[in-house]
Each structure stands twice: as C-alpha cells, then as structure tokens.
C-alpha cells in the first residue's frame, strides 16, 4: 500500500480534515467488439469487465491545507473527489472528511464542504447569479439576512458587482466560473473540493480564479483540494501535491520536494552571431531543437558539468545570448507520467 508520505509523527499534532485509507473503486463496464457484428453479439451475450478507477489509495490532508491532486485523464482524480463528496460509494477502504464518512453522512458533510465541478455548472442559466445565490442560501439553510451578508462579502472579494444582475447565459466563461466558485463558498465551508475549476478559461480568467481561491484560503482558512490539468493552478495554490496515475498514488509530498526530486534536467537556449550547422556532440546532452542561428539543448547537471556544456557551446561560434532554465512544472508532471509508462490520454 502506498502509505502517506508524511510519517505518523508529523501528523500526530495536526488536525486532519481528510483521512483516506486503502480506497478502492471500480466500475462494471460492458466490453464490445467493433462494428455491427460486435454489437449483435453483445446484445445477446454481453461481456462485462471490472475497470479499476481508484486502487488502494491512502493519504491524509491537514485542516486548512491546500492540496493539489493531479494525474492524467482517467487516473481516478474525479472518482476520488466524488467519493470524498459522498457522490460515489467505494468498493472498499475507508475515508473520513471533516470527521464524516462521506457516503454515510453525505448531507451533514455537504453543510461543511463546498464543491465545484468545472464541467458541471450550478448556476441557473437563464437567471442572474443573485437569484442562484439566494436559492443556494435556502438549500444551505441560511436565513435571508445571513445570505445577504455573505453574498455582499463574496461579491466584494470576487469583484462580482457588475455581474450579479446579469443573466448567467450572458456572462463569459471566466465570469461564470468566478460566480460558481463564489456560490460554493456561500455557506462558509471548511473545505473546498475543486475539480478542474479552470477548465476552458483564458490565462487572465485563470489568474483571477486563483487569486480569489488563494484569498479565501488565507483569510478564511478554507482547506482546498484541487484537481487540475493546469500545472499553474497547482503551483499557484498548493503547497503539497499528490500525483495519481492509473488509479494509484505515485507521489505524495510538498511542491518543493516534487521539484527537487524531478528537476533533474537543465534547459539551455543559445543564439549565435553567425549562421551555421548547430549540434553539440557531447555524451549526456540532448538536442531539443536546432536552427541556423541557435539551438536548444537539455542535460542532466549531475552527469554532465555545466561548465563543460557552456564551453562546448562556446566552441560552436560567437554567442549573442544564452539562457539556462529549469523545465516548467508541466514538463515535470509529464516526466512523472512517462516514468510510470502510462498513456496520458488514456481514458
């Protein structure tokens, strides 16, 4: 079992908001051969198979922590979040969220958590967000005054003044998503479960969503469990990250540790004054791209010295510019997936 990376001693004095142990969930799926003949056979003699979605996952999350939950498509992120919200029942294993077993105390738990599923809007499409806010106030059992006070606060924090009375259908995706996140915070939850909140958003809208979530995390102490395919979301909001792949937990540690362990390569971009053939035939150095006036290479500084690489590049001509950088988080995550020999597009 992949145990939580933190030792028990580290967790002893901390308040745990999520405790997951050996969680497993699979779905029964009908398998069918292609074409009409396959469909005909499946009609009379269907074949079923169990598809594992989550396999023996265990982890802990501290109260008020911001935890990133990443993995390729079909890795089991959404299934795990849905189990933690009480939407799905696991096949085996245990989970506690804020002291509740989600699939047994779903209603009670929902008063204490907020959730946003980026692919499933919550606001009434034809009405302005203010009407949805009041309905959700009633759903969470808040009286009108309490709802109004909270709406005023959220409108202020999320800068929704100009959006509040515009029908949702007329809002941009980014504006709508800000309202979606705001409505999930209406009942002052202790924990926010966000499943791809930035899906489909442009960079400006993403930044605004990140800023407001970060504000609520810092000001109200709201814990955040975030899944996203955008490494920028994770980097901006989370101090700890869990990587899940093919239903299994493959990494659970701080963001710094993720970088330290996987930032094994340096990337160099170099430009030359003169035109010429560009290649650096040096063991341990990989040419990523090469042109007439420049090239991009990658190497592992633990096996090849930086000074050796620089002098090699210097010997190729007169350099006018050189940049040495770390690969971005996107590349690191890609490397982790690749190391686990998985197809990132596997559904």
């Amino acid at each position: 079992m992949p145990a939580p990376n933190k030792g028990k001693g580290v967790w002893r004095n901390k308040v745990v908001s999520i405790r997951v142990s050996r969680l497993t969930k699979s779905f029964r799926t009908r398998s069918k051969q292609e074409g009409l003949a396959g469909s005909w056979r499946a009609l009379w003699k269907p074949e079923w198979r169990q598809v594992p979605a989550v396999r023996d996952i265990s982890f802990l999350m501290e109260r008020g922590e911001a935890l990133g939950f990443i993995g390729p498509n079909g890795a089991g992120k959404s299934t795990t979040i849905k189990i933690l919200c009480g939407i799905l029942h696991p096949d085996s294993g245990t989970a506690e969220v804020l002291g509740h077993v989600p699939w047994q105390d779903r209603q009670q738990l929902c008063y204490e958590i907020g959730s946003v599923f980026g692919q499933r809007p919550q606001l009434w499409y034809h009405l302005p967000p203010v009407d949805s806010f009041h309905v959700y106030g009633a759903i969470y059992g808040l009286d009108r005054d309490a709802t109004r006070r909270r709406v005023d606060f959220l409108v202020d924090v999320f800068e929704l003044q100009h959006l509040l009375h515009t029908p949702v259908r007329k809002l941009s995706l980014g504006q709508r998503m800000r309202c979606e996140v705001a409505v999930s915070l209406l009942h002052a939850p202790k924990l926010l479960l966000l499943d791809e909140p930035s899906i489909g958003l442009d960079i400006v809208a993403k930044q605004r969503i990140r800023d407001t979530i970060r504000y609520m995390r810092d000001e109200e102490g709201v814990g955040v469990l975030l899944t996203s395919h955008d490494a920028g979301d994770i980097e901006a909001l989370c101090n700890r990250v869990i990587v899940i792949s093919d239903g299994q937990l493959i990494f659970d540690d701080t963001m710094d540790e993720l970088k330290r362990r996987h930032l094994t390569a340096k990337q160099v971009n170099v430009r030359y004054l003169e035109e010429g053939e560009r290649s650096l035939p040096m063991a341990g150095v990989e040419t990523v791209a090469a042109g007439r006036y420049g090239m991009q290479i990658r190497f592992d500084p633990r096996t090849v010295g930086v000074d050796a690489v620089i002098s090699g590049l210097n010997g190729l001509g007169s350099m006018v510019d050189i940049t040495i950088s770390d690969p971005d988080l996107e590349d690191i995550i890609g490397t982790i997936y690749a190391e686990n020999a998985l197809d990132p597009d596997a559904a």
Partner: protein
C-alpha cells in the same frame, strides 16, 4: 453559521423555477395558452362522441369533464411542483445527479423540485376551468375535487419516479420512461367503467392510471370513505415503492464524465 433544516428550500426552488420560466415572456404565455388549447381540442372528440351516444357504461359528458379536470390538474400540479419526475432517467444516465448529491438535502426531493414545467401550468388551469364548467361548484365538492387533484398529482409523481428509477438497473431507460408516461396519460383519460377484469388489474398495478383518473372521479361522483381509503392506500403504497426504488437504485449510481454546457 446558524442553519435551518426545514423544507423551505423547496419553496425557494419553486420560486426560482417560476422566475426562470418567466424570463422569456412570450414563450411563457404561448406555452401556457398552447397547452390549454391542446386540451380543448382533445376534449372536442368526447363532445362529438357524447353527441351520438348519451353515455358509456354509466359515464356521461359531465363525468368526462370531471375526468379531464382531475387528470389535467393532477398532472399539471405534479409537473409544476415536481417537474423532474419525468426526467430522472435522463439525469441519472447523463451523470447529472452529482450536483444534487453534492448538496445537503434529500436527493429525490431536491431533484423533483428543481424543475417546473410551464405547459403544465396550462394543464392545471385548464383542469380548474373544466371543473367549474362541469357544474356543482359547492364548497364540499370543491374540497373533494382539490383532494382528488392532490392525490392524482401524488400518484403521477410516484409512478413516474418508479418508472424512471429503472435507469439505475437498466442504465438507459429514458425512452421506456417516456412511453410509460404517455401510457399513464392515455389510460387516465378513458372512462373508468370501460375496463374490467385483467385490464382493470393492469390499470391499478403495472400502469396505475386508474389511481390518477378513474378512481378519483368515482370519489367525486359518489363520495364514500371506502373509495377515498382505497385511493389513499394506493397512492401511499406507490409512493413508498417509488421512494424505495430510488433509494436502493441510488447506491448503484455511477456518475459520469459528460461535459455539461449549461443546466
């Protein structure tokens, strides 16, 4: 934060459904009026029929008016208040139950109250008008009529929940649920005395249309405690089965990853 745990949220959902429907003024009025006109045209057949034959096994044109009044108002009330009872199969098949399960309220009640059908408001009003036109608008008769409408609405809701809950086992049963609803409406609008034997058993069990039309009208024609008792017991049993089927089925819910552009 102080919380109220009552059913006030259902009222808030109905209110927002009405607001949502009224957002488009012309379609709202057209749908409402269109459904009433549709019912009038449908009833014209019975006017022509009873012009040739005075009665059908004891049922007169007035009884048919009462039948249409009860069924239209009952179905209208069910669809106005619990409009999603006919859409549960679609909601489950698309994995849209997630948004209800992520909120702190009883799932079935929340799902049912989250949609109000505008044309059904036309049905409801049509039923009231037809009741008045049928005559005998005494206080006692009005009370009996309202009771019949409420019981009919409960039966429509419960039977549609039951039929739609098959989706938890069959995975795709939207069309089956649609056919069931059509059968319920069709068989509800026949004179109660037209069927006997196996057909009558069928109409009080498999497609319980007898509970939404014939029996409530029997109660209006000749009010007695036994008929009311049977109606109440039948409705309560159906409601219990519907609740049980939904709750048991809910454990089999598998969610989904469909991308929904809007709700």
């Amino acid at each position: 934060m102080a919380r109220k745990r009552g059913l006030g949220f259902v009222g808030a959902l109905w209110r927002v459904n009405l607001l949502s429907a009224m957002e488009y003024r012309v379609p709202f009025i057209m749908q409402l009026g269109g459904m009433m006109l549709n019912n009038v045209i449908y009833f014209a057949f019975w006017v022509l029929f009873f012009d040739r034959f005075e009665e059908v096994q004891g049922w007169t044109l007035r009884d048919m008016m009462l039948l249409f009044a009860v069924v239209a108002s009952g179905l209208g009330l069910a669809m106005m208040l619990f409009g999603n009872c006919r859409a549960i199969a679609r909601i489950v098949a698309a994995g849209d139950l997630d948004r209800y399960l992520a909120l702190p309220r009883p799932v079935l009640l929340h799902v049912l109250a989250s949609r109000s059908s505008v044309p059904s408001m036309g049905d409801f009003v049509f039923g009231l008008i037809w009741f008045v036109l049928a005559g005998d608008v005494t206080a006692a008769h009005v009370l009996r009529f309202l009771l019949a409408v409420v019981l009919s609405a409960c039966t429509f809701t419960a039977s549609l929940v039951l039929a739609n809950s098959l989706v938890f086992w069959l995975r795709r049963s939207e069309l089956l649920a649609d056919h069931f609803m059509n059968a319920m409406i069709t068989f509800s609008l026949y004179p109660g005395t037209l069927f006997d034997g196996a057909a009558r058993v069928f109409l009080f069990t498999v497609v319980p249309a007898g509970l939404t039309g014939a029996l409530p009208v029997e109660m209006l024609r000749d009010f007695n405690a036994a008929t009311l008792g049977w109606l109440c017991v039948g409705t309560a049993l159906l409601a219990a089965f519907a609740l049980l089927a939904f709750q048991v089925g809910l454990r089999r819910y598998e969610s989904g990853s469909a991308i929904v552009a809007r709700i």
